[in-house]
């Protein structure tokens, strides 16, 4: 450790003002603070410094994502071997899936971080850790067979048009990972929906055993084949086709526990999203006219990306609501809209992505009215107090 520290201190002057690499200062600082805790202290005035900075926040989210990631790797292998009718062990499944997912993760990080680095140099900003989580979220919401160049394009689109033009990390109005997914969804629908893309090898025309279908539970329902639906337990554990990280509700719940326990993710948003889904599910159950609407409401929580969206996407502190009351409204409406789009719009089998992006747009409006109603309430109270005094 000491030798590394010394090395960094030795090359530091080159990157400071007047040094030969002064243009790359923020790259240097980015790597330095990645390796060591920054030793900068406040000189003037009183400041409260919390040890939890952006880097630590991001690291916690990454840790929370690990269960979903590991299960995603396992499930990718499982689905693949199941489709060709080969018996396989746990480790074999995991290793196969891991090797398939790794390129996606690398492409997402290289593209996104590359753009962030360049943007930081151009603007003279410091490099921050804003992309660390997005870089892992993006592959987790993709089908495993998505071509790498599409993934790179979508990542670039999300980072440049979703984040950098708004001013970089912390200024984006949309969740970058969902924006990347939405871009691919509308640009190359053939790779983002259907029965083939969710399982490794099917798009390359690989032979599958008789009777095997790669359809996700949601597309089965959209096609009106509710009878073929996997059991609730299967969907809860996650051994079903779907985007890499979204299938296992149980792995996502482990992540949710980590996020809530550390206070990184807002439990209010997670809870109210599920409440919204529950409300809309029940409402559809009551007025059910077809088999999809009759589907028990709790099925919605374990299918598709509902849990993943609620835990990892809706809780994004930048694009979500900031006020405490606003969080309840924001989450609730995400839940309602997700189920509504799923059930009533056959063109979009999955509604969570669109629901969250839509509510991202409304989050500032919700906050505005929450703050405004608070101001009005206090004004009223003040007026009453003044009136009483005058008497």
């Amino acid at each position: 450790m000491d030798s590394l520290r010394k090395k960094i201190d030795k090359i530091r002057p080159h990157f400071m003002e007047g040094g030969k690499y002064s243009k790359l200062r923020s790259v240097f600082e980015g790597f330095e603070s990645f390796l060591f805790v920054p030793d900068r202290v406040t000189f003037k005035g009183s400041h409260i410094r919390d040890s939890i900075d952006l880097k630590r926040t991001m690291t916690v989210v990454i840790i929370a994502l690990i269960p979903a990631f590991l299960f995603g790797a396992y499930n990718t292998g499982l689905q693949h071997f199941r489709s060709i009718g080969v018996e396989s062990g746990l480790l074999q499944n995991f290793w196969f899936g891991f090797l398939k997912i790794l390129p996606l993760v690398i492409v997402s990080y290289v593209t996104g971080l590359g753009i962030e680095f360049i943007a930081a140099q151009l603007r003279g900003h410091e490099i921050n850790e804003g992309f660390l989580v997005s870089g892992l979220l993006i592959p987790l919401v993709m089908p495993v067979d998505v071509p790498l160049w599409m993934l790179a394009l979508a990542t670039a689109f999300a980072v440049i048009l979703g984040k950098e033009i708004f001013g970089g990390t912390g200024m984006n109005i949309f969740n970058p990972a969902l924006l990347a997914r939405a871009f691919l969804f509308f640009s190359y629908p053939g790779w983002m929906t259907g029965d083939k893309v969710w399982i490794e090898g099917l798009t390359q025309g690989q032979n599958v055993i008789d009777g095997f279908s790669g359809a996700t539970p949601l597309s089965l329902l959209a096609q009106g084949e509710a009878a073929k639906l996997p059991s609730f337990m299967e969907m809860f554990i996650g051994t079903i086709p779907g985007s890499i990280g979204e299938t296992s509700t149980i792995a996502i719940l482990i992540g949710a526990v980590i996020l809530i326990a550390t206070g990184i993710g807002s439990w209010k948003i997670i809870l109210s999203t599920f409440a919204g889904g529950l409300f809309m599910g029940l409402l559809l159950n009551i007025f059910a006219v077809n088999s999809y609407m009759e589907l028990p409401f709790y099925y919605h929580f374990v299918m598709g990306g509902f849990a993943f969206g609620a835990v990892f996407m809706a809780t994004d502190p930048v694009s979500g609501s900031q006020t405490e009351t606003g969080k309840w409204i924001y989450g609730f409406l995400i839940g309602v809209l997700s189920v509504l789009i799923r059930v009533l719009n056959p063109a979009y089998p999955e509604g969570v992505m669109l629901a969250i992006l839509l509510m991202n747009v409304f989050a500032p409006l919700i906050d505005y009215y929450v703050v405004q109603s608070n101001i009005n309430r206090r004004l009223r109270r003040a007026r009453v107090a003044i009136k009483n005094q005058v008497k």
């Binding site: 071509p147 160049w149 599409m150 048009l161 033009i165 871009f183 509308f186 640009s187 190359y188 629908p189 053939g190 790779w191």
Partner: protein, 217 residues
């Protein structure tokens, strides 16, 4: 009055009237007028070109007519007079397209008729033709139509190339053989939101080249 009449037909001033709307006074990217039609007709190059031409003709001729009439139009009813002139021109263009370019006319559908509501037209009549002579007004109309047309063509070129893989109907991407490398047409390019994003990128590019367009805070 007399010293103005001596002005030659293509003086520097007239040339400037024509060129400013192409760049720093561009109706779409600077004044942000006529956006709706710019999004609607730019899926393919051909309709975009026809649309650009139609708007140019309508703007130039109605500018000319209104400028000629400008001293006789009562101020209170000038808008309706302007609309009558524009509407006449639009109907002429519409009928002409239906007669000689029926499939393009079908692709453009209502948007030819909707040239009437194109803000560029009313804007030029109000801002220029009501206060200038016929010839400069005609040139101003041509310039603004061309400025509108340039942006339309750029957007349509990008959308057709990336969205359908063709240029003016010619299958470029297929001839180049890029599909065999795994390339695919981008479906979002055909959707209107992407036209807005492309337009935004053009505005970004123009402003970064021309600092004077950036609003002061």
């Amino acid at each position: 009055m007399s010293n103005q009449e001596k002005e030659p037909m293509f003086s520097a001033k007239i040339r400037k009237i024509f060129t400013t709307p192409l760049g720093k006074e561009n109706p779409i990217t600077v004044q942000v007028l006529g956006i709706c039609s710019a999004l609607a007709v730019t899926v393919k190059l051909k309709p975009a070109l026809v649309m650009a031409l139609s708007v140019t003709i309508v703007t130039a001729v109605s500018n000319f007519v209104i400028a000629a009439l400008r001293d006789y139009i009562p101020d209170r009813i000038r808008i309706i007079v302007q609309l009558v002139v524009i509407a006449t021109m639009v109907i002429l263009v519409d009928q002409f397209l239906k007669a000689y370019a029926f499939d393009v006319s079908k692709q453009l559908s209502v948007f030819v008729g909707l040239i009437i509501t194109n803000c560029i037209l009313m804007g030029r009549l109000e801002a220029f033709a009501m206060a200038n002579k016929p010839w400069p007004s005609f040139v101003d109309g041509l310039g603004n139509g061309a400025g509108y047309g340039i942006i339309l063509v750029i957007v349509a070129f990008l959308r057709e190339l990336l969205g359908s893989g063709t240029i003016y109907g010619y299958p470029v991407m297929q001839k180049l053989g890029v599909y065999s490398t795994g390339y695919e047409n981008n479906g979002m390019m055909i959707l209107p939101p992407m036209a807005l994003i492309v337009l935004g990128l053009i505005i970004w590019f123009q402003r970064s080249r021309n600092e004077s367009l950036i609003e002061k805070k």
